[in-house]
């Protein structure tokens, strides 16, 4: 009699816990949506050029034919519509893609430290970008003339994608790829591309070196609508399709064999998730260079807050990632204005100490 009572009690507690967690997830989701909207408006009205929130709203209203009582100049309108707005869109897309990809990779590798860089995306893209910067005038001259301004983004994208495929290829064993061989292949490819990049950097001149340095620290400067539109299919496919693997990733938390027994085609899930991550992160690297820490910190934080359920982890990661990158971009644009800081520096400064704090807290709580 008493034993049934305790089990009932326990299950009630469990129910309560689940409800608490669920409402927590819901609250987090809507909180993030609202803060993101607010952040969008402030991002549009903050910058080197003084434009008030009222003027920002008036310029936006003017686009749809409404008149608001705030006056604005032509150059203010241009700054909003063709500089800040495309930049805002790109920050939203890249921030969310990086965070979702980070969450998915951490789920796939069952490792909270995993991020897209592990699969060679960043190092492959860096190699290709450095090659274009250094060899633009010599070996790759015709290519860069032919591709024009797109030679750097396209090669970076292809470089990242190719490196990821190589890692996957080398990790395959009889049609199966286990996590540890993926990791090792990733480390090997990273080392190899890193060395070739080093070789290219050795032959670079001063100006190329500085361009490379700035590229590896990431920047959203000079983003135009045409770049946003070019990147949109890549970003949206990652953002749309990756969350569809939430349940498979949840099953993978139990282990690969268990997920297979639950009816998930583990190998296909792995390949598709890796491809989607390479697609989205590759595109973001190609437009904005290397932006670290978003993919690592954001999913981690949310997992601590409401647990590892990917069904809410992935969408919330997207929102928080976008929010974080938007905030970082505001700092990047305004801290040293009229010059600009590389955004990778800001995400590192915001993310690094926070991550350390997280690590300590986790250890105190008796986690791993």
């Amino acid at each position: 009699m008493s034993s049934t009572a305790t089990s009932l009690n326990e299950s009630l507690n469990f129910q309560q816990l689940k409800i608490v967690k669920d409402s927590r997830k819901q609250m987090t989701f809507w909180f993030l949506v609202i803060s993101l909207l607010l952040m969008c408006v402030s991002s549009l009205s903050i910058g080197a050029m003084p434009i008030s929130t009222g003027q920002t709203l008036a310029i936006l209203a003017d686009l749809v034919g409404l008149q608001l009582p705030w006056e604005f100049s032509f150059s203010q309108e241009t700054v909003i519509t063709s500089i800040r707005a495309p930049r805002l869109m790109m920050a939203l897309l890249i921030g969310s893609v990086l965070a979702v990809s980070g969450a998915a990779m951490q789920g796939l590798f069952l490792n909270p430290l995993a991020d897209p860089a592990l699969m060679g995306i960043s190092s492959g893209a860096t190699l290709a970008a450095v090659a274009v910067i250094v060899l633009e005038a010599t070996i790759l001259h015709e290519f860069s003339v032919w591709m024009g301004a797109f030679s750097l983004p396209i090669s970076a994208f292809l470089g990242g994608f190719l490196a990821t495929l190589l890692v996957y290829h080398f990790a395959l064993n009889k049609g199966r790829s286990d996590v540890s061989s993926l990791l090792l292949a990733g480390i090997a490819i990273n080392a190899l591309t890193g060395s070739i990049t080093g070789l290219l950097i050795y032959t670079a001149n001063d100006e190329q070196l500085r361009t490379i340095t700035f590229w590896t620290m990431g920047s959203l400067s000079g983003i135009s609508w045409s770049q946003v539109i070019t990147g949109l299919p890549f970003f949206l496919s990652t953002l749309y399709f990756l969350p569809k693997f939430s349940r498979a990733l949840n099953a993978l938390l139990l282990g690969e064999a268990e997920a297979g027994h639950l009816g998930f085609p583990v190998e296909r899930v792995k390949l598709l998730v890796i491809l989607l991550v390479a697609l989205g992160v590759g595109a973001s690297v190609s437009f904005a260079g290397i932006i670290g820490f978003v993919g690592l910190v954001v999913p981690h934080l949310l997992r601590l807050w409401f647990g590892p359920d990917h069904c809410s982890l992935l969408p919330c990661s997207a929102l928080l990632g976008a929010l974080l990158l938007l905030l970082a971009d505001i700092f990047a644009r305004t801290l040293v204005s009229p010059a600009e800081l590389p955004i990778g520096i800001i995400t590192g400064i915001l993310g690094g100490p926070f991550f350390l704090w997280l690590l300590r807290r986790q250890r105190i709580a008796g986690g791993h």
């Binding site: 009582p69 001063d206 361009t211 135009s224 040293v336 204005s337 009229p338």
Partner: protein
């Protein structure tokens, strides 16, 4: 119901007054001030050599911003900095409300320049090459962009006379020409040596010397033995490098240098970075000074 309509009207009045205050404030802030547009244009200079030329043409009052490579003259450091000229920010440039950008042909990124131009700010790209003729061309282009062609001609006359003086002293130069190594350091302990295809190489040749390291292009760290084998007669370096390396004594005693003729005879020439390598309006003077250092025979006669 009555209460509700009351509440609504209070809310309405409140909203109306908020909007009214904000509008008043906004129109006050942005009303165009009745100042007649002045003739002189506001200029942002992107490139240390170009900034130097703008100063030499007495147009520095028009400058509203410069890039991080603009370091000379000293007063340029009080102007707003728009960042490195190859990693510019569109909004930063626009916020200084310039009429024109005058920039080196390496400035970018291209998308940023396009965004700036789309707001009606004009931009002039200056073609550069590391020769005497390139300097004169550069000054002409900047003078035309500033609508000061006369000042450009006057400045060029002075520079051409310096180059002529250099050409005349050529006859007295001893053969074979002195062998020179250019050292460059941006951080403590890492020493780089100029190969071919650098501003240092061009200046050494202009001043009648031979750059001993031409196996590679650009500035790279070099093997000590190769440096000894190259046996330079002169060591050329910039003031910053001297400071980084910790003084003349330290440089003479570096393993790769201590056995060279240059170090044994203490033939070390120190010149300011932008003066020596900038290829701006001081290039003629710098080349002349360097040639007199490399050829003591000409120095004695002119003095």
């Amino acid at each position: 119901m009555i209460v509700n309509t009351n509440r609504l009207s209070i809310l309405g009045i409140f909203l109306f007054s908020v909007i009214y205050v904000l509008t008043a404030e906004a129109t006050e802030n942005t009303a165009p001030s009745p100042v007649i547009k002045k003739k002189s244009q506001r200029i942002i200079s992107l490139g240390g050599d170009i900034t130097e030329i703008i100063y030499a043409l007495d147009a520095e009052k028009q400058l509203v911003g410069v890039d991080t490579s603009s370091l000379w003259p000293e007063s340029v450091k009080s102007l707003p900095q728009v960042g490195y000229f190859r990693a510019l920010s569109a909004e930063g440039l626009i916020s200084l409300s310039p009429d024109m950008l005058i920039m080196s042909d390496a400035a970018g990124p291209e998308s940023v320049l396009e965004q700036v131009e789309s707001t009606g700010i004009s931009s002039v790209k200056i073609k550069t090459s590391k020769t005497a003729k390139g300097v004169i061309d550069k000054i002409n282009q900047v003078a035309i962009a500033l609508s000061k062609p006369d000042a450009g001609i006057t400045l060029n006359k002075k520079i051409i006379s310096e180059f002529k003086q250099l050409k005349q002293s050529k006859k007295q130069w001893q053969q074979p020409p002195p062998r020179v190594v250019f050292l460059f350091s941006v951080s403590k302990g890492s020493l780089m040596v100029s190969g071919s295809n650098t501003a240092a190489n061009a200046m050494i040749e202009m001043a009648g010397g031979i750059n001993v390291v031409t196996e590679y292009s650009g500035y790279k760290p070099i093997n000590n033995e190769a440096l000894i084998a190259a046996s330079p007669d002169f060591i050329l370096l910039t003031g910053n490098t001297l400071k980084m390396m910790g003084g003349l004594e330290k440089i003479i005693n570096l393993p790769g240098l201590t056995l060279t003729p240059a170090a044994r005879q203490k033939n070390i020439i120190v010149m300011d970075t932008l003066y020596l390598l900038g290829f701006g309006p001081r290039t003629g003077k710098a080349a002349l000074e360097l040639s007199q250092q490399l050829h003591p025979e000409t120095r004695e006669k002119t003095q």
